[in-house]
Symmetry: C2
Subunit: 353 residues, 2 copies
């Protein structure tokens, strides 16, 4: 234990400086105030954020939490922390959107060790921008210094969203029937999934030689339209702007995250139906093809790890398909719903090479 | 990049096994189902958890997020993961309780590297137990494998709670007046604050020699009534059972977390008033005295880092003080509210040695 005569401990020496933390929280408060709504009753700094729910007859609150995963390993190499804020918000917005819910409020959690205040502020600025764009209030959050849990420069970044939908407008997949159409909306990149594999294959963000990793990220690939780093850091896309006007016509939605199309599309299907998707119905973007060829990865595995260019799938009645394809930029018909075969299969990808 | 002829990458080799993750999620689903409510519309596994809000006239949603901090560094040494689940829930419940809100639902986030499924299940079991005890539904969460972010055996553990209170019953401190009484409720230990300093002073959970750290934690201290490890791992206490019956009589509440009494009590006071607390009004528990003497820490710093034995402060009208002191086990009168001095001071601790 402490030797007699050693200097008294001070909390700042233990890695926590409460005064600096207070200054930092004041900066955060300013950033967070950019994403507010009239329903917000208290700012960051109260013990809990408060939101006066109004305007709903029978509100169903839909909530989700997720982190940006190991995509964050690329932030110190690219200097792009702000875009991670868009990632952490948009992925959660999409998760509640699949129930037909629009976001009310968001809270973020950043834990780190020796990540600069500026970089952490940039992350929260990204959160506030993405929240404001979605009409969502940023009502709280936590930024924790956790030396001993994180290595110097490392951090984790987690988001939590609460959305709401009228109970009788909730989308739960129960109206999905054979004959319905499957529409795919393009992803903006890997979104926030598959980075464990992508980083390994591309040899970036794996705690190797930082200069070599930076050089790989700064390399320009004509097929990617820019650097590898820019392609990998492209933020997770929010589908609210495209989907919101049509939400009353949707029977189901699947957010294509970890597990890919085969892992996520069946989650929203009722028993007795199966999704049949045609390979070739959409073009797999160059970034996925680059990862596949570099890593010599089987196509089946690629499909289970990455979104492969489709970030959201809509299930709609056949009669609505053409109108929605015309109305939503980039939407493609992936296939359709049919009766399940006897073995209960819920996902078939036909025409795979 | 990948050499020609090297074996194809598989996602499992990159530290992520989607099949094992699916089995794990099924176990989690069973655990989470122990903490539910009739309002819950979907289980874990949907993209978002859904909760049909009902029974409120003018609901205000109050939300908070926090992690257990570096208390979690003691879990691998003591084998106590389950109690961390109580920590992560109860600290958040207290944060929304100070607005008068009772919890509706909770989500947890566990990110780790090589923490066993059993230990992670134990954490979620603790979450489910604490939620069930508070009448709160566990409607979702995320367990992420993040090799590259966490060192082997390390993890982070974050919780998100949403509670609700009628708008006209919300406690916001605005009715606090000079003459009001300050009542303190005992903490159960350090709760979840000050572990950065406590671990350093007590030389446990600092990634030193594991056998030596375990021996220190297993040492019995008569004044602690057991081992140091048991004292340090005592879960953060929820004040809902004691506070709930009296919530209509409370003018303000402060949850004593990081920053201690001087940092948290002023947060709930309106302008123009000051909290005067008498040193000696409560007995500082032996664990805090042990840390102070071992670390040769100034009393003023102890008060800013630790709860020092008071985990929650209630602000009540003078006429209600005696009844509440009699009704709430362990409650003590800490002092009272007076007009602020000219310099705007909001906290005075009198009689400090």
């Amino acid at each position: 234990m402490t030797e007699p005569g050693s200097p008294p401990h001070r909390y700042a020496e233990a890695g926590v400086d409460l005064r600096a933390a207070e200054r930092f929280v004041n900066r955060l408060r300013g950033v967070a105030s950019r994403a507010t709504r009239p329903e917000v009753l208290s700012g960051i700094g109260a013990f809990g954020g408060a939101f006066a729910l109004q305007g709903y007859r029978q509100p169903v609150l839909v909530s989700s939490t997720d982190s940006v995963g190991t995509k964050l390993k690329l932030a110190p190499l690219t200097g792009q922390y702000r875009s991670l804020g868009h990632d952490v918000v948009n992925q959660s917005l999409n998760d509640v959107l699949v129930s037909g819910a629009l976001p009310l409020f968001f809270l973020d959690y950043i834990a780190s060790n020796q990540v600069s205040d500026d970089d952490r502020i940039a992350m929260v600025e990204g959160v506030a921008e993405a929240c404001a764009a979605a009409g969502c209030a940023l009502i709280g959050g936590e930024t924790a210094d956790l030396p001993g849990v994180y290595q110097p420069g490392d951090f984790d970044f987690v988001g939590f969203v609460v959305g709401a939908v009228e109970r009788d407008e909730m989308i739960d997949g129960s109206r999905i029937r054979p004959g319905d159409a499957l529409l795919g909306l393009p992803s903006s990149g890997l979104h926030t999934n598959g980075y464990a594999l992508a980083r390994q294959v591309l040899e970036v963000g794996i705690d190797g030689d930082a200069a070599a990793e930076r050089a790989r990220l700064e390399q320009v690939y004509p097929e990617l339209g820019g650097t590898l780093g820019a392609a990998l850091m492209t933020p997770h896309r929010s589908y609210i702007p495209e989907v919101r006007p049509h939400v009353a016509r949707l029977k189901g939605m699947a957010h294509i995250t970890g597990g890919g199309l085969p892992g996520n599309l069946p989650r929203v299907l009722p028993d007795g139906v199966c999704a049949r998707v045609r390979w070739g119905a959409w073009e797999v973007p160059p970034l996925f093809r680059l990862i596949q060829s570099r890593g010599e990865i089987a196509l089946g595995e690629m499909l289970e790890v990455f979104n492969m260019g489709i970030g959201m799938v809509l299930v709609v009645g056949e009669a609505d398909a053409d109108a929605l394809l015309a109305a939503i930029p980039g939407a493609v018909q992936l296939g359709g719903i049919e009766s399940s075969p006897a073995d209960g299969t819920k996902f078939v990808l036909e025409g795979m090479p």
